[in-house]
Amino acid sequence: MDFTFTDDQLTFREAVSRFLMTEAAPERLREIWDTDTGRSPELRKNIAEQGLTALSVPEDCGGLGMDDVAWALMTQELGYYALPDSLADAAYVAAGLITALPAGTASREEWLSRIAEGSIRIAVGHPVNPLVADANPANLLLLADGDAVHAVPREQVEVEANPSIDLSRRLARVRWTPAAATLIADGESGRALWAQTLNRGVLSAAGQLLGLAQRMLDLSVDYVAQRKQFGKSIGSFQAVKHHLADVATKIEFAKPVLYRAAYALAHGEAGVDARVSHAKLACGEAAWLAARHGIQVHGAMGYTWEVDLQMFMKRAWALDASWGDRGFHKARVADAILVEGAALGPGHTFEE
């Protein structure tokens, strides 16, 4: 029993953090927000050069074969820097789905190699999300027709942009007609693929929410230490301290929930749905509290466009209901714990 990360995993996380600190600095984020596409080919190129597009791709397709547990660290960094790119959608969520296709499925190896080298953008249209993120700049879309999974080239879909308050999120309504040529899985195997994809998407959003929560806490701590009123820094006032202590506590108890969910997913555990939904709820609540208390301790500054906090708050507000809103996830947890014979209570945290 060892519920910790290896030194390698932690070192990797640090390296990603150092890379994003410069590549996705708030000034860069603002520049990219201002562009039409909301995406920077240069940023994507740098990400690919760092090998980050190759993390999940199996080694025989040119990737690093990392699992969900590594992504639980990686997605926190993506959130912390509010990366203005849908990296996790292709490199984690889509890569996971494609990897799970039977070997020999047409184009499987080609797509995976292209994900690894960063030369393809793949959008994932899971039915839990009414709108598809990054449908417009995508080369390929993975779309659902009931249980069936289709891989549809961008030219074959009609895309209508739906702007989000988070200018890094580029959402679209996608209209398309299922065809035999785009079908890659259906029936039982399609259902299984979508179920796994859902959990990966949820975990990715959860990790980003947790990273966002930590960023908003850090920004707030910096701000309240430096801002002075009544002759002293506002961080010395107890009401302000307690706001931020509550955020720290929420974060502290969301982290291990995320890690447990990632492990359940990586190991195909039976109770994975409830674990993943729990992670989404815990991380979402932490992020929303960090946003609310964050803006409160910033005063009017927090309500401005100029102060960086807004970019992180908006991502948090948006991601909370992506890949299933709280009602969806509470229902999944309820399904697991309210059934007859559910394994609950002491001794069931790691074993059914």
Binding site: F3, S233, S236, H242, L344, P346
Partner: protein, 389 residues
């Protein structure tokens, strides 16, 4: 990350489970806040001790098992999962015990620890005074070393001392340098409660029981051998073991997970009524998610400790977390029970002998004792986040 238990850990779990199944009291014990219940719990503790299960993390030489913290978590899961009695001597075993192991002389360890593990000696804590609550450094009770250096003469008053009406010993902080103030000049002493000059006045708690007491010291002679750590270093001794492990030891996840499981059962049995208020279902779900998160955090932290990590002020998040969670779970149970929630244990129509009401009352104290949650928030802000004083 490897979330499988080792064969050794599994075998230990089985052993504890089998022992509890064979030895648990058939009838629930009376409340340990009564004399009768206190002695019943003492008897239970001695049975645990004979099986070397009372202090599994202590070394074998002290009557323990030398378990690591993962094994200890397993023990707790089995213990509370089986609905076993509350641990009546936990203030001694979990608070003073680790302090003695770290700061006690060999003579003190031999004298105190085995009798503590077996609960032949029951311990009460003496920190709080009428004017030293959250501000513990305002302690004024004095312990003045005699001219021949053989004993201290203790005068003053302690209060809120849990189960001191029934206990044998008290440990606490006393001002040994009369000219000192705040954190300086305090010494950590063990005082026998039957010593001449000790007067114990029970305080009736919210639940009508003598859950704590005031203690008056009138020229009480305490041998110098009863000082733990150096003269004047009492604050340091008291704080050194006040960190994560102690916080976790005192409130392991399992007891809250047990409460969550009971709450889910209560909800399921009363679903039709409960669902008229949709927020109840939410709160029941949160009982499970909240207690799981607490357990996961414990395993994560224990793993990091084993790898040599140091746990600092993050520990203060624990206290806030479990106490608010426990309160919320009991509030939810009260809401599910509706008009039956107020019935006391002797009411013919009491549900589950009023265990939820009893738990609800005690849960009110969680955010107050062991450092109020406001104080914990101050600590998190100042020491974990680095905000100015």
């Amino acid at each position: 990350m490897d979330l499988a238990y080792t064969p050794r850990q599994k075998a230990f779990r089985e052993e504890v489970r089998a022992w509890l199944a064979a030895n648990l009291p058939r009838e629930p014990l009376a409340s340990y806040d009564t004399r009768e219940g206190f002695e019943q719990h003492r008897e239970w503790e001695s049975k645990l001790f004979d099986a070397r299960l009372s202090m599994v993390i202590w070394p074998e030489a002290l009557g323990g098992r030398g378990c690591d913290l993962i094994e200890w978590l397993i023990f707790e899961e089995e213990y509370y999962g089986a609905g076993a009695p509350m641990r009546v001597n936990q203030n001694g075993q979990l608070l003073l015990g680790p302090t003695l192991i770290e700061f006690g002389t060999e003579e003190q360890k031999a004298r105190f620890l085995p009798r503590m593990a077996s609960s032949e000696d029951m311990w009460a804590q003496g920190w709080s005074e009428p004017n030293a609550g959250s501000d513990m450094a305002a302690i004024t009770s004095k312990a003045i070393l005699s001219a021949d250096g053989t004993h201290y003469v203790v005068n003053g008053q302690k209060t809120w001392s849990t189960r001191a009406s029934f206990a044998d010993w008290l440990f606490g902080l006393f001002r040994s340098d009369p000219g000192s103030s705040r954190h300086h000049g305090l010494s950590y002493l063990a005082v026998p409660l039957d010593a001449p000059g000790v007067t114990i006045r029970p305080i009736q708690a919210l639940n009508g029981k003598q859950a704590f007491a005031e203690i008056f010291f009138d020229d009480v002679k305490v041998p110098v051998e009863n000082r733990i750590g150096d003269e004047g270093q009492g604050w340091h001794v008291a704080m050194a073991t006040a960190g994560f492990e102690r916080g976790l030891l005192l409130r392991s996840p399992a007891r809250f997970q047990y409460t969550a499981r009971k709450l889910v059962e209560l909800y399921k049995a009363n679903r039709e009524l409960a669902d008229r208020d949709p927020s109840i279902r939410d709160a029941v779900i949160e009982a499970w998610t909240g207690t799981e998160a607490y357990a996961l955090s414990a395993y994560h932290t224990v793993g990091r400790l084993a790898k040599g990590a140091r746990i600092g002020a993050e520990a203060s998040t624990n206290k806030i977390y479990w106490s608010e969670l426990d309160l919320k779970m009991h509030e939810t149970a009260m809401r599910i029970l509706g008009p039956f929630a107020e019935l006391t244990g002797d009411a013919p129509e009491a549900v589950e002998a009023a265990r939820w009401l009893d738990g609800f009352l005690f849960a009110q104290a969680g955010p107050i004792y062991a450092g109020t949650n406001e104080i914990q928030r101050n600590i998190i802000a100042e020491r974990m986040l680095g905000l100015p004083k």
